[in-house]
């Protein structure tokens, strides 16, 4: 059965085809069943593939299944081939596993929606595209999945397209992603023009044989990373992700937290040989990740929209993943990707449950005291928040610690400091969210309060499963202090991660680092506790005290405004100018010009037509004479 691993992406694809052909005839019940079941099948196949993989010697990796030759032109060949190795196996498990839970949750969340079938069609299509992305054995096919998930992201952000803001958010996501994708494509072209193949095995081989010059490899790595900043919402292309929260909450959980936005991290990990080969590009990855982690964390401090806090938190956490990849700890980055997929989708789904209970309310200032109304959502949300904050024995702690320890071990103290600072922010904004939402006085409108209800089991059961995963997910990658071979996850990924000389820290340093990250997490929680539960007047005093800093944060550093001023407006104005002067004058001028000149020529020639029979007859006579003369002479 494991040899059928290539079938993993095609169950959701088949489901999409069936929805498109017969969707109108299907009952809601059947739609839910088919959508969830197709992803479940993929998950089962991924599981079998994973088990098969465990028993394989690393020399036989990766397993590649070529389905057909996709493009063949000259010496350029791209195959439609899927591969299985530890990295893609981890990703397929996350995508189908978390994806399945979110599909199930959606059954409850979207139950009242008019476009129920459309929603599940797009969600299945997304799963298919994401699986193609993570299983592609060459970068061209990967790009197909890359664009496919981008398309589904666009469709699902704008799912409620009759809402103006949702349609605009979809457009923004699409356009910002295209900017990154342009760079990504250039990177692919460079790889192709110099290696003649996009197969990952070929790329890795070429790098190990130094077939690529270092400046060129660096350029490729940076271009690909720019693509990743678009897809994974890093500085400077992160602006679309907060707006993407206009989509349905399960979509935010699946696409904009657990899977699609981590595609950039996966890409860097997949091409880890390239990034290990180019230290300066890797340094850029690490720095951008670290800065994003702190930058987005500070914005999350002041946001009042529950989903936007989570969105900025996602940006920040992906920053951590890039931080890990940038310092060479690809396995740690992937580890954080996995645990993040668990706890962040948990947080989003729990936030969705809160919104569900409050008739769609998003503003945290209008929540509070929900603890007693939502007995199932509250503990799961709390577990998610603890996990992301990095409290020991929860998954986020292990993965974040792995990243920070690697950064420290590599001597990248700047990145490490930023990471530690980000950890305080993470703990603070998560518990600010918890305290504002579930504790304290009830600030809901009376009307809303009457309708508060816990979500149905179809929504809470996925929450519970994800909460369990958020706790135990970390134990696949225990830190070195537990034992040398304790980190099963790192060992599992070893065949696909390039080997570099690992700096081993002494046990006492490791303990100190763990202590440090624990202390900062607890500090963050404590500050949130003081500010939002103990002395709720303090935040207002602080706002009054530092109005400028507060305004800067509330307005998200004015980045959207700056982009609007620097890029959007000039583009619109430039387009207007080009339209006025080039389109109207040159292009339309050329088109109209051909018509006018033809008319003008016709006008001149038409003077020969006098309309008098005599003249025509004369012309015939002259013609006859000339012809005769020509024949005779």
């Amino acid at each position: 059965m494991a040899n059928y691993f290539w079938m993993i992406p095609f169950f959701p694809a088949l489901s999409v085809v069936l929805f498109l052909l017969f969707g109108r005839l299907m009952s809601k019940k059947y739609v839910s069943f088919q959508a969830c079941f197709s992803v479940l099948l993929s998950f089962v196949f991924s599981l079998f593939a994973f088990i098969h993989l465990l028993s394989l010697p690393s020399s036989s990796l990766p397993l590649v299944k070529k389905l057909f030759t996709w493009i063949l032109s000259g010496n350029f060949q791209a195959n439609f081939s899927l591969q299985l190795d530890p990295l893609s196996s981890v990703m397929t498990l996350v995508v189908t596993g978390v994806g399945f839970l979110i599909h199930v949750y959606s059954v409850g969340y979207m139950a009242e929606d008019r476009s129920y079938t459309r929603y599940f069609t797009q969600l299945n299509l997304f799963t298919f595209a994401m699986l193609i992305l993570v299983m592609a054995s060459n970068i061209v096919l990967m790009f197909v999945g890359w664009e496919g998930v981008g398309l589904c992201s666009y469709l699902l952000i704008g799912f409620w397209f009759e809402k103006h803001s949702a349609a605009n958010a979809g457009k923004k996501a699409f356009i910002v992603n295209r900017i990154g994708d342009a760079a990504f494509l250039l990177g692919i072209f460079l790889i192709f023009s110099h290696l003649g193949s996009g197969e990952f095995t070929v790329i890795n081989q070429a790098l190990s044989q130094h077939q690529l010059a270092l400046p060129l490899a660096t350029l490729i790595a940076i271009l690909l990373f720019v693509g990743a900043t678009g897809k994974s919402a890093q500085i400077p292309l992160y602006v679309w992700l907060p707006d993407a929260m206009e989509g349905p909450t399960p979509v935010s959980a699946l696409i904009h937290a657990a899977t699609m936005v981590t595609a950039g991290v996966y890409m860097v990990a997949r091409l880890n040989h390239l990034y290990s080969f180019t230290p300066s590009a890797a340094q850029i990855v690490a720095i951008v990740g670290a800065i994003t982690a702190v930058f987005a964390g500070t914005i999350a401090l002041t946001q009042n929209d529950i989903k936007r806090v989570l969105a900025y938190s996602t940006i920040s956490q992906i920053g951590y993943m890039f931080m890990g990849c940038g310092v060479g700890a690809y396995a740690a980055g992937m580890f954080h990707l996995v645990t993040h997929a668990f706890f962040k989708s948990l947080l989003f789904l729990a936030a969705g449950s809160v919104m569900h209970a409050l008739s769609g309310e998003l503003n945290m200032q209008k929540m509070g005291g929900l603890k007693k109304y939502l007995p199932q959502t509250y503990p799961t949300f709390l577990i998610g928040a603890i996990a992301i904050s990095g409290i020991p024995f929860f998954s986020g702690f292990f993965s974040k610690d792995a990243i920070l320890t690697s950064a420290y071990a590599q001597g990248n103290y700047l990145v490490w400091t930023l990471g530690i600072f980000g950890a305080v922010l993470t703990a603070f904004y998560m518990f600010r969210l918890i305290f504002l939402t579930f504790h304290g006085p009830e600030r809901m409108d009376e009307e809303v309060k009457k309708h508060i209800h816990e979500s149905p089991p179809v929504m809470t059961i996925p929450l519970v499963i994800l909460a369990i995963l958020s706790i135990v997910g970390g134990y696949i990658g225990l830190p070195a202090v537990v034992g040398k071979e304790a980190n099963w996850f790192f060992k599992f990924l070893t065949p696909v991660i390039s080997h570099h000389e690992e700096v081993h820290l002494s046990l006492s340093t490791e303990w100190l680092l763990i202590l440090a990250s624990t202390v900062v997490a607890l500090t963050g929680i404590f500050i949130a506790y003081v500010l939002y539960l103990k002395k709720p007047s303090l935040p207002h005093q602080m706002v009054a005290r530092f109005p400028r800093a507060y305004r800067l944060l509330v307005n998200k550093y004015y980045v959207d405004e700056a982009y609007n001023y620097i890029f959007v407006q000039p583009t619109i104005k430039g387009s207007e100018l080009v339209y006025q002067h080039f389109d109207l004058k040159v292009i339309d001028g050329a088109v109209n010009g051909t018509a006018t000149s033809a008319g003008f020529l016709g006008k001149i020639i038409s003077y020969l037509h006098t309309g008098l029979i005599k003249d025509y007859a004369l012309a015939i006579l002259l013609g006859a004479i000339i012809l005769l003369g020509y024949l005779l002479l």
Partner: protein
């Protein structure tokens, strides 16, 4: 037996009269007559050469020409009639609708 020269010269004279009449006259009816004259001049020359060379082709062509001339006269006169009904004139200088 009339010599071929005479027939040829006679045909040429007849054709020239027709041609000149066509260009000189202004009303369509007369111009039509001029055209008929030219056609028949051609016929005459065909007949003359057919006789001179003792071949049938010339005579056959004459039959064709007569047929065509008859059809042309029928349609042409009908057109002239219609033009007259519409325009109350058959003078060519008044008929310049096709002027560019």
């Amino acid at each position: 037996m009339i010599p071929i020269n005479l027939i040829f010269i006679f045909g040429l004279v007849l054709f020239s009269i027709g041609l000149i009449a066509f260009f000189v006259k202004r009303d369509l009816i007369t111009m039509f007559m001029a055209v008929e004259l030219m056609l028949n001049a051609a016929n005459l020359i065909f007949i003359g050469f057919a006789q001179a060379f003792a071949s049938l082709e010339g005579q056959i062509i004459v039959f064709f020409v007569i047929t065509v001339a008859a059809a042309e006269a029928a349609i042409g006169l009908a057109i002239v009639m219609l033009i007259f009904r519409q325009k109350k004139t058959v003078k060519t200088e008044d008929l310049n609708l096709m002027k560019g």
